[in-house]
């Protein structure tokens, strides 16, 4: 985003091509339009295919292009702002239907999650799988790890797995008095199961959001959510759901 006039820097060839291509995308192509094939593009801009490929990779990282199986490279729509902290002290998904419970099983949490939850190595926890939908598209896949001790009232006679079980666990979580939450965001690559849900290839770049939910000074649950990095811009606001583009619209409307 943006350019700086602070100092001039030696730029590699693919970087210059990226800038030229980016301008061409603005002027000559519409959102969703399929780009010519690599050979034609390389010829059009008078560059080697390797250089072209590097420039296309940059534009994909920046969310300007999308590569889709069986379709080719298309011009991407602007990224969608997805509010990550909709409420400072709420469970994610509280009060909206964006997060759809898909499954719930008992499983051993990864070592780092088990450490955060302070459960014994090898101890199984509830693992709730949810998918976050925005404008009809899956933008995130989540595994929510909940130790049995966090939901002691959970009835054993209810559904043993599936969306109904997931809803039971979430209902019990919502009864807890949440102290707060902390969160980290880092770059990752999509696991095969997440990739399938998100309509990406395994290994596609994703933003991994890890959230600890704190109850009575202990970690009651840990969520590991994988957001599509190509289409999502994660937003965080002081005032709940406020985010840049929404605020802009309000400003313009007033």
């Amino acid at each position: 985003m943006g350019t700086t006039q602070l100092e001039s820097v030696q730029e590699p060839k693919y970087w210059h091509l990226k800038t030229v291509l980016s301008e061409a995308l603005d002027s000559d192509f519409a959102v969703g339009e399929v780009l010519p094939n690599e050979r034609d593009l390389a010829a059009r801009f008078g560059v080697a295919r390797a250089t072209l490929r590097q420039a296309l990779e940059q534009l994909e990282l920046e969310g300007r292009l999308q590569r889709r199986r069986g379709v080719g490279t298309t011009v991407a729509p602007p990224r969608v702002g997805v509010a990550v902290a909709t409420a400072q002290h709420g469970w994610s998904g509280d009060g909206d239907e964006a997060w759809q419970p898909v499954e719930c099983t008992m499983a051993v949490a990864p070592a780092v999650v088990a450490a955060a939850l302070d459960v014994e190595a090898g101890e199984t926890v509830h693992v709730v799988r949810r998918i976050r939908m925005t404008h009809g598209q899956a933008v995130a896949a989540e595994l929510l790890y909940v130790p049995a001790s966090s939901v002691p009232e959970l009835s054993a006679i209810e559904a043993a797995s599936g969306p109904a079980r997931a809803r039971s666990v979430l209902r019990e979580l919502h009864r807890l008095d949440l102290d707060g939450q902390d969160r980290s965001v880092e770059l990752g690559s999509a696991r095969a199961d997440d990739a399938k849900e998100l309509d990406r290839l395994p290994g596609a770049p994703v933003l991994v959001v890890t959230t600890r939910y704190l109850v009575a000074r202990a970690t009651a649950a840990v969520s590991v959510a994988t957001y599509r990095a190509d289409t999502c811009r994660l937003t965080f606001g002081d005032s709940g759901a406020l985010e840049i583009s929404h605020a802009e619209q309000e400003r313009k409307a007033s």
Copy 2:
């Protein structure tokens, strides 16, 4: 992060190799150790070089490997947690020396920043450049866009550019009564100038954090900060600087 036992999924060859390599990194290599060259590695694991390269790219995305000019591929240390919102209502860099002012010029802001700041197209604003240091390493490069109207008391007789000018602009900003801030995080690629500061190649994956600082219901400044995606894990906490690994240490110490 983690594995799921929820369903079995057909995994591509490079994905399986990635898992095997990841385990080998844990057991056979130390942090900072240089990996054997691609030919030897491909032979060792009995895979084609193209497959190996894909697996190495995955591990680089996940922060397990680093590719450095003139060094080769090395085993990366764990990512560093970098607190993004150190105070819910403070200017970033307030009260710590992590952000080092480097330069300050007058320049035209990119269109999207100009729109957020509500300045005319072509109007110049103060552009403060800062570098964020953690453990002696540059982890982020920032451009902070400040319209002249946000810092009306800024004296014209002070230094016209350079770190002294940057500090003057920041001093005036700190006098403002901040209502709040909102923030977005998205994947990007490093611009040439940022890449140089961050010791990366242009186009390397970065996490772009855009922050709007709100004063009297208007945007007083916009910061666009580029964090190294390979080494940084951005942390956000309810309680200021609280972050997962710190909290863990406190828990263990108590």
